[in-house]
């Protein structure tokens, strides 16, 4: 495992220049630190070092180097973002083995769009210095909407904090919400991840419920708890900016701090001050404060009433209709659809670059707030004027509709929503039930119709309306994965991304041969027609011991028909794609070869419909694929 100082030292030895490596056509000039032009400007945490850079085509990119083994699910996260673009998510690409350390260890790099702007805490400082504390309410609401949209789409950030929320300086549309970016995806969990990611990230301590533990991974409760901490902080600071002076420690928190016990009980000084201003929280935002207070008292969030409580107010606006949503089958879907150049134009659940002004309407609720600023309730409706799905504006803007909205929100299915979140959770982390969709005869049940989609606002604005048939674009269709029994591969040709498999089964980038041989054995017992395994040129140097290395070299030289070592400076990936395409073979790899979409379009096309992913536990391999794969038919 590399250390941060190793990576920084390596970049210094490279004189802040990262050459073009492998299939990455670009090189990078890393931005120097303001204090010392010889060292890079850098940000580090426990899991990665990030440096800003200028790519050879002039684009600014942030480069992330992982300190531990690259998180096993990171490719799924990047694919999710590429397939489900949302303006708040930053496009990213993985490049393997970009830095090579003195001991031969190689470091993967994630290239991300560079965001010119402020982190949340810096923005607060700016706003307060300009006396613009009221903007914080808009900011809080924007973050709330984004978090709700992402949760609904199946993206659990897992580490929301002042430093992982940025506000870009320039953005199309210009609204505050359209400028918000969430960064750092190490503890993200996305829909479709089959095995629990091996992440030990538990998020920034000043944003977590005490029950969050390294022994489990991100839950929807964790995401909402952190979002609530941020929301309440922003509203509270806008009401009383002095809280910032009293409770903020630079670079460390907003106003709540784990060390002071602020998130363990509600007796700390910040809570006393919050109590004093509770009545000044605009409109209904005080409910968020109450909800946070309650949440802190729960010994654990999982299984508590927290979800139903947060649904009562905080997450309102992204409720999903509990009834199944019929989705017309748009035909086969490429699991790695090209990323649209402008996420803003995509049909993702985020199309709020143009905001309608809230229509002044008599508030039917008992709390007729005198505050002229838009109340969350209004904003909520205002948001619904630009929902994901087709919904005529008259449905929303008429006072009657608003009346209906409130009524439905009051009378309606808040209790039943709990079940929806439960369902959503199950979607993100497939339970055993999900895995059992493989039928006895080895047939596989199409799972697409079960994809949960945001039924934003419809249930609220049109309580009586029947579920609409909605157009679901190809791109909007989510990728779901399903297990592949080995028997299904009978008489098929198989190409294995050998280095990827060794990497998957290895420890700390030290390869062991046995798991690969176990996979071969499992495939052979499934009576596949042929197996071709392709390795990167550097593979022999990465074995953990001499015995495995020797055995590997022996296999490569004696069984050429099966084991192929790529020549030096040739990417194994391209060879794999080529062989599979030419031989009509299935490909086993956990890589998504996104980089070849343009350079090898036909091969890539073939790959995307014949791709199998793999995971290994105790030398037993489990294969998965996306549901639209042709070979399943």
């Amino acid at each position: 495992m590399p250390s941060a100082i190793q990576i920084i030292s390596k970049l210094r030895l490279l004189k802040l220049k990262i050459p073009s490596i492998g299939m990455n056509p670009h090189n990078y000039n890393v931005t120097p630190s303001g204090d010392n032009p010889k060292r890079p400007k850098s940000w580090a945490g426990n899991f990665a070092v990030v440096v800003p850079s200028v790519r050879s085509d002039g684009e600014q990119k942030a480069l992330r180097f992982f300190l531990a083994k690259t998180p096993s699910h990171i490719t799924q996260v990047t694919s999710f973002i590429n397939n489900n673009p949302h303006h708040s998510l930053v496009k990213c690409k993985m490049f393997r083995n970009t830095l090579t350390m003195k001991n031969g260890e190689t470091i993967d790099m994630m290239e991300m769009d560079f965001i010119e702007g402020n982190t949340l805490d810096d923005l607060i400082i700016n706003l307060l210095s300009k006396g613009a504390a009221s903007v914080l309410i808009d900011l809080a609401e924007s973050i709330r909407s984004i978090v709700n949209e992402l949760v609904t789409a199946g993206f659990y950030h897992g580490d929301l904090s002042h430093s992982n929320i940025m506000v870009a300086e320039h953005a199309p549309g210009g609204s505050l919400q359209s400028r918000i970016r969430l960064i750092d995806y190490d503890s993200v969990l996305v829909k479709g991840v089959q095995a629990p990611p091996n992440t030990k990230e538990v998020g920034h301590p000043n944003y977590q419920h005490p029950s969050r533990k390294t022994s489990r991974f991100t839950l929807v409760e964790d995401v909402y708890f952190s979002a609530l901490v941020i929301y309440v902080s922003l509203i509270a600071i806008s009401v009383n900016p002095k809280l910032w002076e009293s409770y903020h420690s630079k670079g460390d928190n907003l106003i709540f701090q784990n060390q002071r016990g602020d998130l363990r009980d509600i007796t700390s000084p910040v809570w006393a001050d919050l109590e004093k201003i509770r009545s000044k929280f605009p409109s209904e935002t005080g409910k968020a404060l109450d909800c946070l207070k309650k949440a802190i008292k729960y010994p654990t969030l999982e299984g508590s009433n927290f979800l139903s409580e947060i649904e009562e107010w905080f997450s309102l606006g992204t409720h999903i209709d509990p009834s199944p949503i019929p989705i017309p089958d748009p035909g086969p879907v490429d699991p790695v659809d090209p990323v649209p150049p402008h996420p803003e134009s995509s049909p993702s659940p985020q199309t709020r670059s143009v905001k309608t002004k809230p229509t002044p309407s008599p508030k039917p609720g008992p709390k007729n707030s005198p505050t002229p600023s838009p109340s969350p309730q209004k904003r909520k409706k205002q948001h619904s004027s630009k929902p994901t799905i087709e919904l005529s504006s008259k449905d929303i803007t008429s006072p009657e509709a608003k009346e209906k909205t409130r009524k439905s929100a009051e009378e309606n299915p808040l209790k039943s929503q709990r079940g929806i979140f439960q369902k959503l959770k199950e979607k993100i982390l497939p339970s055993k039930a999900d895995i059992s969709i493989v039928t006895e005869g080895g047939g596989i049940v199409e799972e697409e119709s079960e994809v949960i989609r945001p039924k934003i606002k419809e249930s609220i604005t049109q309580p009586d309306a029947k579920p609409k048939k909605r157009k679901v674009s190809k791109r909007n269709k989510k990728r779901t994965t399903i297990p592949v029994p080995f028997s299904k591969l009978k008489d098929k040709k198989i190409v294995i991304d050998g280095t990827n498999i060794l990497h998957e089964a290895g420890q700390k980038n030290k390869f062991y041969l046995q798991p690969l041989l176990a996979l071969v054995e499992q495939l052979e017992s499934g009576k596949v027609e042929s197996i071709n395994i392709v390795f990167d040129a550097s593979t022999p140097h990465k074995f953990s011991n001499k015995e495995d290395k020797d055995k590997f070299n022996e296999l490569v030289s004696n069984q050429k028909e099966r084991y192929t070592l790529s020549p030096k400076s040739t990417e194994a990936d391209a060879i794999i794609l080529n062989i599979a395409y030419k031989n009509n073979a299935l490909i086993i790899s956990n890589d998504f070869y996104q980089d070849y979409e343009d350079s090898l379009p036909e091969e890539f096309q073939w790959f995307s419909k014949h791709h199998i992913t793999s995971s290994q536990a105790m030398d037993i391999w489990t294969l998965n694929t996306t549901s639209n794969n042709e070979f399943l038919e």
């Binding site: 495992m1 250390s3 941060a4 100082i5 190793q6 920084i8 030292s9 390596k10 210094r12 030895l13 630190s33 303001g34 204090d35 400007k41 850098s42 940000w43 580090a44 945490g45 426990n46 070092v49 300190l67 531990a68 350390m101 003195k102 001991n103 430093s163 030990k200 301590p205 390294t214 670079g251 460390d252 784990n258 060390q259 002071r260 016990g261 420890q507 700390k508 030290k510």
Partner: protein, 229 residues
């Protein structure tokens, strides 16, 4: 270790003031502040923010690492371990009182010799008050690292039934904290270490590589809160 901590706390052009360190060296019969250029504050510690200013570096060619040169070589004469521990106890107590919610203080005793101001059998008793210092995050940790220039078989994070080479090793073992499970997990998962059950924060006959490994483990707790070494 210092360089790594600095890099981990770097946020753009700033250093997050998350860690404070103390450096005390054996010199004759005394125990002195060992980070010459960087004076200790009233608590007997120095902030990582100050250490990041260090412009003297050594390049470890073998590992391609540029290491800030903070602690000068000044060790000579005896190894007054009793004095050292007693001095550190008061610093750690003071720290824990002032930072009750912080990661607990971590004390790393690095030595190549035997104590010269006490009986080695008494070390466990001398150290025991440290084990009673605690924050809400747990008890203070004592790491003992015995370094040896020769090629004696090293002992690294031994468990209760592991063999120890001699009586002195047993005394130092007894004077070392049990490695908390959280650190053991980090050691296994992030550093690829083999760590048994109830392992002690202890290494004997360690070479420089093992020393670095143990230091990186000792400094990987807390997720960026205050620490002391």
């Amino acid at each position: 270790m210092i360089g790594e901590l600095v890099e981990r706390c770097r946020k753009g052009d700033e250093i997050a003031p998350r860690v404070r360190l103390g450096f005390y060296g054996y010199a004759g019969s005394e125990v002195n502040w060992a980070a010459g250029k960087f004076p200790a504050d009233a608590d007997g510690l120095v902030s990582l923010v100050d250490l990041a200013e260090c412009d003297e570096e050594v390049v470890d060619d073998e590992n391609e690492i540029m290491i800030p040169w903070v602690v000068g070589e000044n060790a000579h004469g005896g190894t007054p371990m009793k004095t050292a521990f007693e001095q550190v106890i008061s610093i750690a107590e003071n720290f824990a009182q002032n930072h009750p919610d912080s990661f607990p203080p971590v004390i790393v005793n690095i030595t190549d010799g035997v104590p010269t101001d006490c009986n080695e059998n008494d070390l466990a008793t001398i150290v025991s008050p440290i084990m009673n210092i605690a924050t809400t995050d747990g008890a203070a940790l004592v790491f003992n690292v015995h370094i040896s220039p020769d090629e004696s078989t090293p002992v690294f994070l031994p468990s209760p039934n592991d063999a120890l080479p001699d009586e002195y090793a047993k005394c130092l073992y007894a004077a070392s904290s049990t490695l908390p499970e959280s650190l053991a997990t980090i050691g296994r998962q992030q550093h690829g270490m083999t760590i048994g059950e109830d392992a002690r924060c202890f290494a004997f006959n360690a070479d420089s590589a093992l020393l670095v490994k143990l230091l990186s483990l000792a400094s990987s707790g807390g997720g960026g809160e205050d620490r002391q070494a």
